[in-house]
């Protein structure tokens, strides 16, 4: 009944479910197919042969193949934000409601105005872009590029954010079988029966591979029946997983494979909580590549006309989908596969007008088949040209006695032989080797643990596939310590013989007329290869780049080998010596989303939150990213700008008390008999004299003598220290210390533990900070000025909970840092704020913190930039002369001691109202602002509420000797400039009186 709307659907046969019609649309036209169809088979069933326009010439294109190699039938799948360009209709599984649109046409598929490109093609042959658009340069952006962009392209990307989700997963197995055809199934069954853990990945949505497309019988039953029996057996094996719709796309070191599982591409949209794609990392001890083979087109005139198809694909549309791809066919081949193709076409009721065998009448198999079906056989003949615009109408052949003859047909089934699908064998730099007997590239050296079975070995006969599958499957399981018996199956398929020794490959038809395409997707013709050689680009890799051959989304699956063959013919060399282009992952296109997985948007990286984050959020904090951390930047009151908020926070701290969350600072717990000795070697300054109960500022160098990080280290006993690092450098410092402990001085008995996440820490700063802490720290701890002077450190309790208190200051005020186990962090901050109410305390964020440290001339990220020495930062005196430490020797290099190095200076704009920004370059007054005169740059700047003007820190050549000099601060990026006076970096309270208050 449905067949009325599907005029090319056969009355019976195929693996489609005629009881399950599916409605879909192509270019807005409502069409019906069946469950089990691909978009391509459903289009062919409905007589839709024109499905797209080519990339460069906008030539009408149809369906060439029935698999992943398809270069022509590329469509936009779905619409709106789910639109996926360059979807191959030949593998797009049909579902009810599928929407597909043709690409590269304007305004419509049948009437494409840009197909005029085809008429001017002599001007846009290979290399055309390189030559024509070179001059004048100014034309490129305004004229050439927009023009090319409009004309070319491979579909449009989705206009909006992808609404789907993607997943990553890892699997482990003994034996990975790649490919679900007869060889792959045989391998999986042979290995699975031994009890080995087996994963079988098949890119198709139905297991069976070539058994679905060819008529086959195995042990007296049909190939399809055998596949179903084996699939049932595999499903019942607990250690075997069969992953359908899963393409193995790459081979990586150590038995690691990448694979994309299309979880939802066959559904209108993903089911709830299901990803669209899942990217698998499969770790396998052994692997079997049973990926089959891809048929070769033949280059003759207009071989891209819709209706010119690969012969094996013609058989697949007949046998698997129950679709006749035409009414009247011509077969053109150089191998015995023509016999099976003829049988299948005849069985489907397709009128076969002729068999054109390019070989010189030597094939008994094909002649016999032709005679059996009463079909005209042209041995030693060639198809030279195809006719028909939007669809094939006839072909011209050149017979063995040099006669040209026109044969009307709407289908040409061509076969130039087969290329084993060996892409994965060369992902670890294995080189395929040309085999004269098979007239094909066969696997060269293989990735460790991989064996090859089935048609990928160069022999696609069903018996050979079953035998090589069983043997490799059992051998792989055996290598993993399993044992079993070798299964034996006997079979015969309609594709048998097609890989058997073509006398010679037929890459292109001599005397062909019209454009003879090699790479359909990149629109590369035989003439382009000729041109490439003439212009000196005859090496495989050069020709590929000159012509763009093999560079489209199909990566040249139907064209790379042919191009090599033609290059060899033109240059009179043999193909083996031309080498081959290198196959790289991925085997088939992988959506970027699948590689990103969950790492997108908010999940791009983990977000680290301070233990007091909830309270800070309640208090209206505005947060800023500091690495993976979110830190409170400022706490605006209604109507305040960030600057007003930060100013108020600074004034509150300097006038009373403020609290800043410094939980993000790195904290490293250092314990052991050699803890002090280790710290001595890590820091450049002296820690030998640091007594328990005291803290010290430490400066850490890299081995090359530059400053790595700084921070305060507290000593609790001779064997227990707690080091703090900057927020940004915490992971680097930890790794640096672990390296030096484990690799350089393993004899030191010391343990390092990062406790950054385990402790919440708050800076309590300002003249009233001690009074505030007295109300929070338990009474038995004396924190009076005399008992707990500057740089004291002690273990204390807060409401009975162990805490650590250090009297240290970044702000320059009387200040403390109090740390408490993370789970109490939020409570402690609430309690500090509650007790602080009487003192007018406020929370302050990183903006106020930065302002205060710049006012004090303390260095931070802008200055600790990996290019500064201790001396550059005015900290040269810290470097101990009495000990060895990391960075000591190389800090003595002349360039690091050059007195003209840029050093830390303070900068004051002469115009009090003007702002100096970090990044501005410093140039001596009266000199031009250029690279030669560049003497340094501004590293940090802030508006100082205490000074009532902008202040800045910078690195300036010989800066130590230039106090009082006026220099230019030039900011060409923002187009500003101001005059600044060099001063001491300590802008506020330079004598440090407030610290000791």
């Amino acid at each position: 009944m449905m067949t009325e709307t599907q005029p090319f659907r056969l009355a019976t046969g195929g693996l489609v479910d005629r009881a399950a019609p599916l409605n879909f649309s192509f270019d807005g036209r409502a069409i019906t197919g069946f469950a089990g169809d691909t978009l391509a088979s459903a289009l062919l069933a409905n007589g839709v042969r024109l499905v797209g326009r080519s990339f460069k010439y906008h030539r009408p294109r149809g369906i060439l193949s029935a698999g992943v190699e398809e270069p022509n039938a590329l469509v936009e799948h779905r619409s709106g934000s789910r639109r996926e360009p360059n979807s191959r209709a030949t593998v797009l599984e049909l579902y009810d409601g599928l929407v597909a649109t043709s690409q590269n046409r304007w305004p419509s598929l049948r009437c494409d105005l840009l197909s005029v490109n085809s008429w001017v093609s002599s001007f846009i042959a290979a290399g055309f872009y390189y030559k024509t658009f070179m001059w004048p340069a100014s034309f490129w952006e305004r004229i050439y590029e927009p023009m090319i962009r409009r004309a070319a392209g491979l579909g449009r990307t989705a206009p909006a954010h992808d609404p789907d989700t993607y997943e990553k997963a890892t699997a482990f197995c003994d034996v990975l079988v790649i490919g679900g055809g007869p060889a792959g199934i045989a391998a999986a069954v042979a290995a699975g029966r031994t009890g080995a853990r087996v994963i079988l990945c098949d890119e198709d949505f139905v297991l069976g591979g070539g058994l679905l497309g060819d008529k086959a019988d195995i042990d007296g039953g049909s190939g399809v029946d055998w596949t179903r029996t084996m699939a049932g057996e595999l499903a019942a094996m607990p250690e075997v997983s069969v992953m359908g719709r899963t393409s193995v796309t790459g081979v990586y070191d150590g038995g690691v494979f990448g694979a994309v599982q299309r979880v939802s591409d066959h559904l209108p949209e993903p089911l709830p909580h299901q990803p669209r794609l899942r990217f698998w990392r499969i770790v396998a001890r052994r692997s079997i590549l049973a990926a089959g083979a891809i048929e070769r087109p033949i280059a003759f005139g207009n071989n891209d006309r819709p209706g010119v198809m690969l012969a094996g694909s013609v058989r697949t549309y007949i046998n698997r989908y129950g679709v006749a791809p035409g009414r009247r066919a011509v077969i053109f081949a150089n191998n015995d596969g023509a016999a099976g193709t003829l049988d299948d076409l005849a069985a489907a009721g397709v009128d076969v007008a002729a068999v054109v065998d390019s070989r010189d009448g030597s094939s008994a198999a094909v002649s016999v088949a032709a005679a059996r079906h009463g079909v005209v056989m042209h041995a030693g003949a060639m198809v030279t040209q195809a006719y028909g615009g939007h669809g094939l109408r006839s072909v011209e052949i050149l017979t063995s006695d040099r006669q040209r003859e026109r044969i009307s047909c709407d289908l040409l089934a061509m076969s130039g032989g087969w290329n084993p699908t060996i892409h994965l064998t060369s992902h670890l730099s294995g080189r395929p080797r040309w085999d004269e007997a098979a007239a094909a590239f066969l696997p060269g050296s293989l990735p460790p643990g991989m064996t090859v079975a089935g048609a990928a070995t160069g022999n696609a006969d069903l018996n050979a596939c079953l035998a090589s599958g069983a043997a490799t499957g059992l051998a792989a399981a055996h290598d993993c310590g399993f044992s079993g018996r070798l299964p034996s199956w006997r079979g015969h398929g309609s594709g048998d013989g097609q890989c058997h020794q073509p006398v010679r490959p037929l890459w292109r038809v001599p005397g062909a007329r019209g454009k003879a395409f090699i790479d359909f997707q990149s629109d590369v013709t035989t003439d382009d290869i000729d041109l490439s050689v003439r212009e000196g680009f005859g090496a495989a890799e050069h020709a590929k780049r000159y012509t763009a051959l093999g560079m489209a989304t199909d990566q040249g699956k139907t064209s790379n080998v042919a191009a090599l063959g033609i290059l060899a013919e033109i240059t009179g060399t043999d193909i083996a010596s031309r080498g081959t282009t290198t196959f790289r992952p991925p085997y088939t296109p992988v959506a970027i989303g699948a590689l990103a997985g969950h790492a997108r948007g908010m999940d791009f990286h983990p977000r680290r939150l301070s233990p007091a984050h909830p309270f800070e959020t309640e208090q209206g904090a505005v947060f800023v990213e500091a690495g993976a951390w979110l830190r409170a930047q400022y706490y605006p009151r209604p109507g305040e700008t960030w600057l007003q908020s930060a100013e108020r926070e600074v004034r509150t701290v300097r006038g009373g008390a403020g609290i800043c969350d410094v939980s993000t600072l790195g904290k490293i717990d250092i314990q052991g008999p050699d803890a002090r000795a280790f710290i001595e070697r890590i820091y450049c300054n002296n820690f030998a004299g640091l007594k328990p109960g005291r803290a010290r500022y430490g400066l850490m160098l890299r081995e090359d003598g530059f400053v790595l990080d700084d921070g305060v280290t507290m000593c609790f006993s001779d064997t227990h220290f707690v080091m703090s690092t900057t927020t940004a450098n915490a992971p680097v410092v930890m790794q640096h210390m672990e390296f030096h402990h484990q690799c350089v001085w393993p004899e030191l008995d010391v343990q390092l533990t990062s406790v950054t996440e385990q402790w919440a820490q708050f800076s309590v700063a300002g003249p009233l900070s001690r009074e505030l802490l007295r109300r929070v720290v338990d009474r038995q701890h004396d924190i009076a000025n005399e008992a707990f002077p500057f740089m004291s450190a002690a273990q204390v309790t807060v409401a009975g909970v162990t805490a650590r208190l250090a009297r240290v200051s970044f702000s320059g005020e009387l200040a403390y840092e109090i740390a408490i186990p993370a789970q109490y962090g939020d409570s402690l901050l609430r309690e500090l704020m509650r007790q602080g109410e009487a003192f007018g305390v406020c929370l302050y964020g990183t903006e106020a913190l930065a302002i205060m440290r710049i006012e004090k001339g303390h260095v931070a990220g802008g200055e600790l930039n990996g290019h500064t020495t201790a001396a550059d930062l005015g900290l040269g005196k810290m470097m101990s002369a009495k000990k060895d430490y990391v960075g000591r020797i190389l800090a003595q290099r002349p360039a690091l001691r050059d007195p003209e190095r840029p050093t830390l200076v303070g900068l004051l704009p002469l115009d009090h109202g003007s702002q100096v920004r970090a990044g501005a370059h410093l140039v001596a007054s009266g000199r031009a602002a250029n690279l030669e005169n560049d003497e340094g740059y501004v590293t940090s700047s802030a508006f100082s509420p205490m000074l009532g003007r902008w202040i800045a820190l910078g690195l300036l050549a010989s800066g130590n000797n230039r106090t009082g000099e006026i220099v230019r601060a030039c900011d060409p990026l923002r187009g500003t400039e101001s005059l600044v006076e060099i001063c001491s970096p300590q802008f506020y309270d330079p004598t440090g009186e407030r610290l000791h208050g």
Binding site: G254, Q735, R893
Partner: protein
């Protein structure tokens, strides 16, 4: 690539971080030619086409620093030991 951590077993390379040549040893800082030796230690590297000794850290695992013997042409790993277990010079 997969690396067998002596403490954690075989893990994917994504858990590790690479540092480089593990044949170099930090020189004696008090030696007469310390400056030259340190420049070599930090900057001069052999680049053998073949087996190479490298430092890797099991960063997203037990954090052990490892000495990995690896053929840089094939990425085949010949041995892995904990750096702290190396015999001193």
């Amino acid at each position: 690539m997969r690396i067998h951590c002596p403490y954690c077993g075989e893990r994917g390379v994504e858990e590790y971080s690479y540092r480089g040549d593990a044949t170099v040893r930090r020189p004696d800082a008090n030696g007469p030619d310390a400056l030259e030796r340190f420049v070599e230690y930090l900057h001069l590297r052999d680049n053998p086409a073949g087996s190479h000794q490298e430092f890797w850290q099991h960063l997203h695992g037990c954090r052990a620093w490892l000495v990995v013997q690896r053929d840089v042409r094939t990425h085949a790993i010949e041995s892995v030991i904990a750096a702290s277990r190396r015999v001193a010079r």
